[in-house]
Symmetry: C3
Subunit: 213 residues, 3 copies
Amino acid sequence: MVDWALVFDLFGTFFFAISGSLLAARRGFDIVGSLLLGSLTGLGGGVIRDLVIGVTPTAFAKPIYLVPPLAAMVLVFVLVRVVERFSRTLLIFDAGGLALFCTTGTLTALHAGLNPVAAAALGVTTAIGGGLMRDVVANRVPQLFNPHDIYALPAMLGAALIAVLWQVHWYSAITTVIVAAIVFALRVLSLHFRWHIPRAVADRGYEPPERAS
Amino acid sequence: MVDWALVFDLFGTFFFAISGSLLAARRGFDIVGSLLLGSLTGLGGGVIRDLVIGVTPTAFAKPIYLVPPLAAMVLVFVLVRVVERFSRTLLIFDAGGLALFCTTGTLTALHAGLNPVAAAALGVTTAIGGGLMRDVVANRVPQLFNPHDIYALPAMLGAALIAVLWQVHWYSAITTVIVAAIVFALRVLSLHFRWHIPRAVADRGYEPPERAS
Amino acid sequence: MVDWALVFDLFGTFFFAISGSLLAARRGFDIVGSLLLGSLTGLGGGVIRDLVIGVTPTAFAKPIYLVPPLAAMVLVFVLVRVVERFSRTLLIFDAGGLALFCTTGTLTALHAGLNPVAAAALGVTTAIGGGLMRDVVANRVPQLFNPHDIYALPAMLGAALIAVLWQVHWYSAITTVIVAAIVFALRVLSLHFRWHIPRAVADRGYEPPERAS
């Protein structure tokens, strides 16, 4: 039988790794830098999740987790010229990672025995952690804090939905995919329609990340 | 009976969360960004402390730790216009978190069985960790490294005092409050009087954090 | 009998701490900032390594690990004017830390029972982690990602060599020193001859770290 949780987690790792390797390409890093930024983005959130739970991080326990970042580095190196809308590509893959990791992160935490509130919080941490580290290491203001669209809110909704489905015993591979699809759709639609929520201070403008590229 | 260690820790979390939400407001982040930057600032130091000790981080073990960041986000959203001296407000709350966390961090480490030197070092790490992550994530040179006042030194003094008080069995809620008050006073006075200590290289100027705001 | 693994680890910590304290000096931080940036650089990689393995980080378990950062801070304060070629000095010490930590990190992971692939990956993480945190905290694009020389590649080679030597039971203090010397030589030669490897995207220039100094 297929271990769907592992499959979803590996795809989430791959999507985030693509976003990291694309950012590395945009910044002119070399292929090892691309591999490392992809690995940090794809594996970083899960390492934090596993350290909080108290188990050996899967990135170091299961060598198969090193495959998605390697594949992402190669794919970006070979195919990056094919990709036309560069900026959006990074955001779409990032949204895919976000959608999968908020579900698998919450589920891993629930399996480990955390209470539903903590599990959802850890799921959100898993989902936003890798992208946050990617942007911090590449020295730009994290995408997470861009107030012109919504980023963490869909992940929060997805993590909460998974915690509720778990509580009412409706959790399955299918409901997980549906929740991930909702999170992905909300994130991408917010990019397209520039959905946003109130500022922490309404009358103050956003300071754009000057060196972001 | 009141669990004073928990009370102090929650207030420290709240003070640091205010400083994070204020920085989010200043940068024009939205309310979710304000909640997340407040959470990272308020909970980040304690998560590192608990991971080093080897226990489940309190931020994920006790849901009550999610209340201070939520309260901080709401307070900043509602009251930020009332606050006149914006810059100083952030620094004062940051000083409150620093004062409480260097004491509670050291005590938690001593309770966990670390030797006094390591416990004091971990207390300092707890105290400066959240603010460091706040500034790094918001992409500015950490306040910690501003050489025009003293930041880590009061926390080091407070952590050392707590370790000594613990060794001579004079530790109590009252002595903790006194130590925290001393740390807070030293930090705030250093801001007012621009107390400073020698540079790592005396004849070289400080490169101000250009994008700090 | 001498515990060579401890000796190598302490020297690696010292070399990285020097690089951190030198960067602090260059940025005009004060002596406490120098101590803290040196500590983060020297101890950060090992803390991540130990957290992943699941043991109390040596930085907090063995007080002797606080000596190298203290010595580095004092040395930089006293001797920095003697040092002529400032920029290269930081890179040479950083290379020394990299060379020692990729070997000791991999060995620590192998001793803890990780499989060879994971152990090599954790050795690389240990080697590049401290310098990465140094640069991120000092708000510059990490040296690691500079495509004009090679940084992580020698560490990857060293970690892989150690894992292989371990597997064939040829591991000893002497082979460790030889591997570290190879890593150091490759890193320093790549700086001198500007060895580089393909970019993640070949026709796109590198965005230099504007505020790096």
